[in-house]
Symmetry: C2
Subunit: 368 residues, 2 copies
């Protein structure tokens, strides 16, 4: 059994849940680097001993570890690739700069496992560079949790493609936050009838279902990044997540507010002024016996990717979603008129970390 | 890139679809053995050249191949393990005798990929012997298509378990045939109101949705075998597929008919005599505003596995199934009250073969 050496960056919600899962694995790889924003813990070279405890508090109190400020990706890659066995980097951040350095790691033979969407959904050239570098370095890149958290979305799509099925269309609800907002604002049963949009957003923010700044959910860019990833995996050359129509739920009049915490507060304070717009959209759907949902879709033949509001029959699977669930439908030649559907929680530390941990196990299986 | 050597047994519906998919793989393994019931084609030793064309007709017309009658599992294992690289056996039969020999292959280092349920759902001792032999032989066993055809059911369950999630309950519709029968006999919209059960069964048989002998679907054993596999993968010690309650849809009065083609004909001829029983079950559900469906469930805490008829709310996901779709819900600690759901076609040559082909790629990735 080979020994694997692990570097982990990020100890937020997903990072912490991942470290817990890691600590319970029967054949866990050896954690030799653990980093958060401005601090890095390293197992001292050349022995790479002792290994690091899988929680930040215990680890940072260990006097036998080397402590440092933030290291550059090159420094981290150099440290990991000197380890006496195959190394794997787990990036539990959403840092675009770290994602831009994946090729450095991969060319050095360090595999990457990550829920960070940035590397796969920014410039197409970076996406290509990542997978070309993996081949060059004989390393692997797994990123299941970039779409639908731990739901088997990426792996299923890759299986369809690699076995020669023809994917014709992908559609679904890809944001747990927007799922919750619309399931609450426009429920099939109609029980949310009296609710105002701004109240539902405020409630979701209080429950921790939105990003700290809800505009980061409402602008649709998170969904656009996920669609970009899926579209590229079926072979569409999507240049960037703003290369196709994305409907923002931020009222035009509030687009000028700056991105600071004050801007976020002003946004929440003023959102109620525009409730009539969303009520109108909801009621127009109701008149047709439908409900409105925020969805993403990829039509492969026409190469059309779009993200935005759409009306759905009340007895459709998308209309019937509960809580903050995601649903993703794959229409393919083999599956015919009834799509292959994956549904369930698409956000949350534990389920996102599960996707990361499962990917880590797969990488270790492939390197063994 | 290592060269892999492949033996394929079975050229029925799934086998033929698999061979088609195999022939289109970019880095296909080398087919050196192709067998159907009483005939075997082999690439001549010691060169293992020429490779075999991936369809029976072309291959059997090739004068350069060695031809033989049926070989014993031991003879096949010996031939495959002498190949100058890692060998993989794809069993596209439903043969219990071949399945009972998997340990022979695995201990010889030959990996197994199969949609054949028999090895994993017969005696618990065989199930255990298979996985122990795989470890001993440093070989792999993949069997995604034993449950839900190409749907990612087994892989998802293994990911949940291996990352430390606690699966509490699994339930769903596991038979494409029984899905079609009940979606047609007792549709949510009620449009099938006037249909008689025996007519629906006859129609399904004509459409090729049932086994040649529909009793093989109606006795519930196919579903029981799938539940046995899933239950064992979450750690329940299910001794055999008849170790738990399985509701048969074969009327008691017809259980005595023998298993021959004549018996099957007599069964179909007489099934209509018992239509009133099924109509009563359907109407009793309707009185509660529900529909009846044939489902399987595993309650992990109480170790209860059961297969049979159950009533479902008309707005439930199970009631809303279409065509011959399967649906499988995983309730787990991490996923909470809303389960992780997989839905789609759970039968058919192409989608079953897709699961086999995807498994083959995964085995090759692990052996590389």
């Amino acid at each position: 059994m080979s020994q694997f050496y692990l570097g982990v960056i990020g100890v937020g919600g997903v990072g912490t849940a991942f470290l817990q899962q890691l600590s319970r694995l029967p054949d866990a790889p050896k954690l030799i680097l653990l980093a958060r924003s401005s601090q890095t813990l390293l197992a001292p070279t050349p022995t790479y001993l002792p290994g690091i405890a899988a929680d930040w508090k215990t680890a940072s109190a260990n006097p036998d570890l080397t402590k440092s400020g933030a290291l550059s990706p090159e420094e981290i890659a150099s440290y990991l690739s000197s380890a006496p066995g195959r190394a794997i980097l787990v990036d539990n951040t959403s840092d675009p700069a770290l994602a831009a350095s994946y090729p450095v790691f991969l060319r050095a033979g360090i595999s990457i496992v990550t829920p960070n969407k940035k590397g796969f959904s920014s410039d197409l050239s970076l996406f290509r560079n990542i997978f070309a570098s993996a081949i060059k370095g004989n390393a692997h890149v797994y990123h299941e949790s970039t779409v639908g958290a731990g739901l088997p979305v990426i792996s299923t799509l890759l299986d369809l493609v690699s076995t020669g099925d023809e994917v014709t269309r992908i559609e679904g609800v890809f944001s747990g936050t927007l799922s919750f907002l619309f399931n609450t604002f426009a429920p099939v049963g109609g029980s949310g009838a009296g609710r105002k949009w701004s109240e539902v957003v405020a409630e979701a923010k209080e429950l921790g279902y939105t990003e700290p700044d809800p505009r980061d959910d409402l602008n649709g860019m998170d969904v656009a990044r996920k669609l970009t990833i899926l579209a590229r995996l079926v072979g569409l050359e999507v240049q960037s997540p703003d290369a196709f129509p994305v409907e923002s739920l931020i009222p035009k009049e509030l687009e000028g507010l700056d991105s600071s915490a004050e801007g976020a507060k002003a946004f929440m304070d003023r959102l109620g002024e525009f409730d009539a717009q969303m009520t109108e959209i909801k009621e127009s759907a109701e008149k047709e016996g439908k409900v409105v949902r925020y969805v993403g879709s990829i039509d492969v033949a026409s190469k059309e990717v779009r993200v935005g509001l759409q009306k759905f029959d009340k007895d459709s699977a998308i209309a019937g979603l509960k809580g903050s669930d995601n649903i993703i439908s794959f229409y393919t030649k083999r599956y015919g008129s009834n799509p292959l559907i994956i549904q369930g929680a698409g956000a949350g530390g534990d389920v996102t970390a599960m996707g990361v941990t499962a990917d880590l196990l797969k990488v270790m299986h492939r390197l063994r």
